[in-house]
Symmetry: C2
Subunit: 316 residues, 2 copies
Amino acid sequence: MNLRHLTFRLLEVFVATVRTGSVTAAARQLHLTQPTVSQQLKRLAEAVGEPLLQPGVAGLEPTEAGSELYRAALDVTGRFDDFQDYLAELRGGQRGRFSIALVNTAQYVLPCLLGPYSRDFPDVDVTVQIGNRQQLLSRFERQLDDIYVFSHPPSLEHALAARFLRNPLVMIAPESHALASLDEVRSADLSAERFLLREPGSATRMLFESWLQGQGMQLSGALQMASNEAIRVGVASGMGLAVLSQHVLPAVHSGLVVLPVREFPIDSHWHFIVRRDRRLPHAARGFLQFACARVEHCLPEEFVCNEIAGLLESLG
Amino acid sequence: MNLRHLTFRLLEVFVATVRTGSVTAAARQLHLTQPTVSQQLKRLAEAVGEPLLQPGVAGLEPTEAGSELYRAALDVTGRFDDFQDYLAELRGGQRGRFSIALVNTAQYVLPCLLGPYSRDFPDVDVTVQIGNRQQLLSRFERQLDDIYVFSHPPSLEHALAARFLRNPLVMIAPESHALASLDEVRSADLSAERFLLREPGSATRMLFESWLQGQGMQLSGALQMASNEAIRVGVASGMGLAVLSQHVLPAVHSGLVVLPVREFPIDSHWHFIVRRDRRLPHAARGFLQFACARVEHCLPEEFVCNEIAGLLESLG
DNA sequence: TGCCTGCATAGATATTTATCTATGCATATA
DNA sequence: TATATGCATAGATAAATATCTATGCAGGCA
């Protein structure tokens, strides 16, 4: 028997024996029979290669080597208890890390959840990835992140999704635009307008194009820009109209108006999406639980659409 | 599988895998096959209840729980390495404790060995017991000490003995005594003398009485005193004669003379005695080795009679 | 496409383990 | 001296272990 094959259990037996000063008492304490403890101690002494216990005034006393082993055993089991505590926190979602990937648009709302979450769970490291839909789909395919936030969820074959926030798409125009004064804008009114669009594949663009198709229309002229901010500024400076998430608009619409287009706003939702074939870190689940409980308080209530509970349920 | 049954070996396997970032490399390092390591890691992960490793950029990387386990494993194995170092010192006799029991007379010479020994081995705690022969025999029977120093060894059935120092017994008288002026004192000259004796059972007394018996004599009058010092002072002040170990006499015989008695000095020796049925602590053996090597330097060479090597040999 | 490299799984097996009951033996205690 | 207490040993056994060989499977590279 080699020291290598020592188990924590064996050390526990030894510690109990030293503490009680009696094999029999240790056995009782550990719910074992006395011979079992005797034998474990024998094995331990063999492994160490020195006698560990000797009869003393108050029952068994540790020898010189036994005392040192006792100290070592306490240190070692103490260290492992710490480890177990750590594990417990990890499992409880109080500690650990997870990464969440957001489509550009969602970066306007997610911080309202992530901020309070981080304050409540300071020992969780959150990595936030932000990209356009294309980039996120690639990350999703490569399983790089724990939670994804999409407006238009990808194939759900290997994933679960839950809506949590309405994401109305509105059409914006410069304040001075002719259509801005109408009570209602019809699709026909838009035929001559030039639009500023996000890149193809963007959910916002996909939804707008599908609306146009429904109206039997095609875009007359379009300008493509890769960022919501650029589009907003572009619209304000008269480059054209655009369809954007309402969350992207600043609280004070500096130079912009939302056009009262018929059938607008286009309804869409943000989803939390997790892969089923990837182990969800406890911390990530903790975040979803947090979101489920607090989304109403952290985000404007009129937008909230909390289906996270179902997702958590499906995760088991 | 429970955390209790974790072995240090398992932690080693894990550490090697984390360090190399590869199951195969770890297996090579540990002289195991790759499947063996795979399986050990699986068991470990099961025991912990969390995944510990995941594919990363540079081979396998520890997960959150894995990193913490790695830290814990390093701490724990480090602590046990310390313990092993301690054991090594213990085994080398550089550390530990032992107790040695001396008959009264030997306390005049043993410090000459124990002093230098303690200086060379400061981490060894030595307990010195001193008593008369009776007390020491009792301790010997009860196996209370590791090494005994007797002049007249007890039954050697369960013990080994080795002489290390001559212990000549001389007869002393006050300077002014009539016999002090003779060239040779014969036993007949002593018949009228009163003797101061140690308690019955004392080796000195036993040897003297056996000498008397050899001369066909009996003591005319005797005074019993329990201490060598008391006897010495008693003789100096004219209470009678005495037989004492030569080592007991002060360097300058204040008021005492050694009588040139025929057949004197009576030859006896001090012995180191160890029980065969009691494990000798490494430190005690270390002391004997020290004594064997240094007795010539630490004690007057004319008295040395070093048979310790044989004792050490018998101990194996 | 086909071939390495590296990890995981399956199946086999000798050894070790953890644990029990029964019993022996020494030392206190009545 | 008898009895109780406490430890050690023996023998038995189900379970777990440590380890192997053989094989499957995925990702990277020519």
